[in-house]
Symmetry: C2
């Protein structure tokens, strides 16, 4: 594996699709993915894994069943496995996801927003 | 596990020691750790795991045996397992480390900079 410094903004400049995670790095069997979020995603959970979110730019919301989490650039949160959540962004924001390779973006909910065969950028 | 939004700068305000990683979050069996780097760390490698570095603030250097890597805020790099590296910072910088819980900061090199029983903040 080539060792390369990765700049988040440079990677974001390579795509404009929303809710379409792109893989930028791998650590053991985990992927680092960048995603542009805008509007409502769907309620879902990951039965097998925790999932980490780091906000790179903008404001990001993750609704839990009992309350919303409000994140801004420089914030992170770990959603434990099995916990239902729904990402939301009033305005487009840029987020870094860290989770095991192959974790589906829609968890156990599936549906038309499901992305498979994620692109490396 | 309580689900809490974590702000990097707020966590950095809780400590001033250098090269003393503090744990801020756990994802499965991985820890997210904040560290203030300044000056030369030591050459070491992690025989069992890759290690991810994300620069939160400042400029950070990771020397490899064949070249230096230069990182700034908004950059990340994954150092593959087994690869010798030496962190360095001309001026203090703030870094987020992601690696399996229990990964020693000095890898297989040991020595007086080794930190065990890392504090959660």
């Amino acid at each position: 594996m080539e060792i390369k410094v990765i700049n988040f903004e440079e990677k974001f400049s390579k795509f404009s699709e929303r809710f379409s995670p792109k893989i930028i790095a791998q650590m053991n069997d985990y992927h680092f993915k960048l995603v542009r979020s805008f509007g409502d995603f769907i309620w879902h959970r990951h039965p097998e894994t925790d999932e980490a979110f780091i906000v790179i730019d903008g404001n990001f919301q993750i609704d839990l069943r009992d309350r919303p989490l409000h994140l801004k650039a420089g914030d992170m949160v770990v959603i434990p496995k099995g916990v239902e959540h729904k990402p939301y962004a009033k305005q487009e924001c840029k987020v870094l996801l860290i989770e095991p390779a192959g974790t589906p973006n829609t968890g156990d909910a599936g549906g038309e927003l499901t992305k498979t065969d994620l692109e490396w950028i």
